[in-house]
């Protein structure tokens, strides 16, 4: 029984078995490879996407729970005109990524944080941004979030 949902504005019907983590359905069924596999246990955040506007670590979120939901991946952040989201733009301006593998998840987490809090304080950034980056881009992630919210760096 396919699971109907909306992904990046498009109606889709997932055919994966319903216990399949949404991450794999997005990657293998829809070819949306921007969300990454990092740990499989919701520990690293590389697979972060939005479900109904809030962050979800899709490696442990079964397809069954996606029924009727609105899902956004990194590929769906751009505007309809193809313009980058302001957070993506800030990521470029702050030259955040190194290997880049975790950055889709980092950006999705930051977009949700800013949507919820507007101008997050450094303490709120620390609390919300729990995705792992092995390259150590954290200083520039902080700088990019401040830049995206028109706040001066410390």
């Amino acid at each position: 029984m396919p699971v109907a949902a909306t992904v990046n504005g498009q109606a889709v019907a997932f055919e994966s078995e319903t216990d399949t983590p949404l991450l794999w359905a997005l990657r293998e069924e829809l070819g949306l490879t921007g969300a990454k596999f990092g740990c499989g246990v919701s520990a690293c955040g590389a697979c972060t996407i939005h479900v109904d506007g809030r962050t979800v670590r899709s490696c442990v979120f079964p397809v069954s729970q996606a029924a009727g939901k609105t899902i956004t991946t990194i590929e769906g952040l751009k505007s309809n005109e193809g313009e980058l989201h302001p957070v993506q733009q800030a990521w470029i301006e702050a030259q955040v990524p190194q290997c880049g593998y975790c950055q889709s998840g980092q950006i999705m987490a930051a977009v949700d944080l800013i949507a919820r809090l507007g101008k997050p304080t450094p303490a709120q950034i620390d609390e919300a941004m729990t995705n792992i980056c092995r390259c150590g881009t954290y200083p520039r992630i902080r700088a990019a979030i401040l830049r995206a919210t028109d706040q001066a760096a410390e």
Binding site: E17, A46, C99, G100, I132, G136
Partner: protein, 733 residues
């Protein structure tokens, strides 16, 4: 035996580097064949490394990979600088995995630096080089200082030279009256100009100069500039395609379980439970692993989890981490060193009646690379040809290893190099089990198969930074200076050639005791300098306190006046506010380590809370790498190295129990997160006229000892074993 073989190979490399493998122009069929694969219609190739299209687009091919360090952008900057290219028209691509694109510059670079068989060659790296020639190795923080300085600049300058020659012929004007800028040759006297794109095809027919004149630094307009990285746009919109993202028609996905004890073998497995899982299509047994192939990853994983394979322990069942430390102690105490270096007679000073003797023992555990992208490799076998898609630190060696595993000739193997989600030394093909696993798997499957390691397999089957221990002993003379210093260290590899000891001490002794386990000790970002830096820079801090001196003044007194090291240290003290009083409860610790030709000093400010947890508040770093090509990248590399080092020092540890790795995922192998990252990591570069040093690795070594020294300053407790996490209670002030 292993060690002797390495020395032999090292000698072979030095000879080859000096003579046969120097960077020469298209000197054979291999390069011509290589160019045939990259030069399209309307494009002109100037060596395999640079082509110019009729629309003025300049494409640079890099023999080294960029797995996050930003080297591709910097290499393009260097070639474009000498070419006088229009930066907006410059592209950079990974060179194909073909012998004509082999990385000879790294060999020449190490050979030049060493002047033959010198004392600063990272031996572990060069033995890798030797075993894998022809190769495209990325390692030793060598991309910019060797590939860039030797190959890219020369290529750009040579291409510009023949473009000028061609323009002179077409404009009927002497070269001396022509100028170049932004892909255009201009003859000011006649007001005429030619675009590179319109003369490239004819210019490429001319013979390239072997020793083109390179620019003086004063003329640079791209080198030294904070140019935005070319790869970043694709890494913020999800479009960058990593090895794990490959998708091919009819492709299947597989996952693997290896023998929990390294060197163990698969004894038996009942395949039926996996084959009963919907979507599972095949179970493949290999010598030390079982693989499940399915329609998708989740189905493969469910199939794998349904199996109960039996593995042997290869006689390693008694191996555990505490026992390794004990065995290392016993080996060292027995006193038969494998390698010895140093000068003077330390024992004379140790026995001197007025000497103050300080001794300490240090230990560091196995450490995992924890690259964010687990291993993934796709392979497809058809009609005796094997095609591979993967990201590794040496694509050419992937080809060789896969060919051997599949029983094919390298000529029948095509490797498509892809970008990587980190590496940090984990992706040297010689340590990457997945290459042979995937190649063999493909030979048994009618479809393309993508093999993905779970994070658990990734953590348990790493090529870890070695578990290592050391005993240090010093004599402080009546004058308060170090009279003798001895470092006895126990681990598999001799660190002598890559870890210079920079303090002026009358008598020094460094003794290496070879100790091996069943683990495949691998190079982890900055390699032996991580633990050697921790040993030496912690111990000199102990000596300073024993001598009743300030750690900065004490180090300074043991560095040559006017030396680069002393200059870094002085600038570090100034920028970190070393002389000022830190906030209550906060301690400052310092460390200075030279690695890969770069000198890095760091000061860490840290405190320990009431629960015994350490907190890092600020890090100041001063770096002398000669000159910097891209300051934005350079800062990111040093900051990233510091964060990785703090993470390793604070909480990372791989332990063995009954021969098997205990840890399995980020829950029990914690990586530092943003909240634990100090709010300020101030990085400053000191320009010097020294030869360019590396940047990918040298930021790592000082942070761990600087942190331990800061904790001592804050609490009076000396950290001699890493990670710090497990000693949290003992740190309660």
């Amino acid at each position: 035996m292993k060690i002797k073989r390495r020395y032999f190979l090292l000698g072979a490399v030095a000879v080859a580097g000096a003579g046969v493998f120097g960077v020469k122009w298209a000197d054979g069929d291999a390069q011509r064949r290589a160019m045939a694969t990259t030069i399209g219609d309307g494009e002109a190739g100037f060596t395999p490394w640079l082509k110019i299209a009729s629309d003025d687009v300049v494409t640079i091919y890099s023999p080294t990979i960029d797995f996050g360090q930003g080297s591709h952008t910097a290499l393009a900057q260097m070639a474009a600088e000498e070419l006088d290219a229009d930066w907006t028209k410059v592209r950079v691509e990974q060179a194909p995995a073909l012998p004509g694109f082999a990385n000879a510059a790294i060999i020449q670079g190490f050979a030049n630096e060493a002047g033959g068989l010198g004392d600063k060659i990272p031996k572990s790296l060069l033995s890798l080089v030797a075993r894998s020639m022809p190769m495209q190795l990325t390692g030793g923080s060598s991309s910019i200082r060797y590939v860039g300085q030797i190959l890219m600049r020369k290529t750009g300058a040579a291409a510009r030279y023949v473009l000028l020659e061609e323009a002179a012929a077409q404009l009927n004007a002497p070269v001396s009256e022509l100028t170049t800028a932004d892909n255009i040759v201009t003859h000011a006297a006649s007001g005429r100009s030619l675009r590179y794109g319109e003369i490239a095809a004819a210019a490429a027919e001319r013979s390239l100069p072997n020793t083109p004149t390179l620019k003086e630094p004063a003329a640079y307009r791209l080198i030294g500039q904070p140019v935005a990285r070319l790869d970043i746009p694709s890494k913020v919109d999800g479009s960058a395609q990593y090895g794990i993202d490959v998708s091919l028609p009819g492709m299947r996905v597989a996952t693997i379980m290896m023998a929990p004890v390294r060197e163990g073998r698969l004894e038996s497995v009942d395949e039926q439970p996996a084959l009963a899982v919907p979507g599972v299509e095949k179970v493949v047994q290999q010598d030390d692993a079982v693989i499940v192939v399915a329609r998708g990853y989740w189905q493969a994983l469910k199939g794998l989890r349904s199996l109960s394979p039996r593995f042997s322990d290869a006689g390693h069942a008694a191996l555990n981490s505490p026992a390794i430390y004990e065995a290392q102690d016993q080996l060292r105490e027995a006193g038969n060193a494998t390698n010895s270096a140093g000068s003077g007679d330390v024992d004379v000073h140790f026995d001197a009646p007025d000497a103050q003797i300080v001794e300490a023992q240090y230990r560091v555990p196995f450490v995992h690379h924890a690259m964010m992208e687990p291993f993934a490799m796709t392979a497809h076998h058809q009609d005796g040809k094997l095609e591979i898609w993967v990201g590794m630190q040496d694509p050419l060696s992937v080809r060789k290893i896969a060919a051997e595993a599949a029983g094919l000739s390298p000529d029948d193997v095509t490797v498509h190099p892809l970008i990587m989600g980190g590496g940090f030394g984990r992706r040297f093909p010689q340590s990457c089990q997945i290459i042979a696993q995937s190649a063999r798997l493909a030979m048994e499957c009618p479809w393309p198969v993508k093999l993905i390691w779970s994070r658990e397999e990734e953590v348990r089957h790493g090529a870890y930074r070695c578990q290592s221990s050391a005993h240090l002993k010093a004599a402080i003379g009546a004058d308060g200076a170090i009279a003798a210093w001895r470092t006895d260290y126990v681990q598999r590899d001799n660190a002598e050639m890559e870890c210079p000891f920079n303090y002026a001490v009358p008598a020094t002794s460094r003794r290496h005791f070879t100790y091996t386990t069943n683990q495949d000790d691998g190079p982890l970002r900055s390699v032996n300098s991580t633990q050697m830096g921790f040993y030496n820079e912690s111990f000199i801090d102990e000596l300073a306190h024993a001598a009743g001196q300030d750690p900065y003044a004490f180090r300074r007194a043991h560095l040559a006046d006017g030396s680069r090291h002393q200059r870094v240290l002085d600038e570090l003290a100034r920028r970190s506010g070393w002389q000022s009083t830190p906030a209550p409860g906060v301690g400052r610790g310092m460390a200075l380590v030279e690695s890969f030709g770069t000198i890095v000093g760091q000061v860490v400010e840290a405190s320990v809370d009431e629960g015994g947890q350490p907190h890092v508040h600020k890090v100041t770093a001063v770096v002398d790498c000669g000159s910097v090509v891209n300051p934005l990248n350079a800062e990111a590399q040093i900051q990233g190295g510091i964060i990785m080092s703090l993470s390793i020092a604070l909480g990372e540890e791989i332990t063995l129990e009954n021969g098997a790795v205990v840890q399995s995922n980020f829950g029990d192998y914690p990586i530092l997160k943003l909240a634990d990252t100090p709010p300020l990591i101030d990085v400053h570069f000191l320009q010097s006229d020294a030869a360019m040093g590396g940047l990918g690795e040298p930021g790592v070594p000082p942070a761990a000892p600087a942190l331990a020294n800061a904790i001592f300053a804050a609490t009076g407790k000396r950290i001699r074993t890493l990670p710090i996490r497990d000693q949290a209670r003992a740190l309660e002030a």
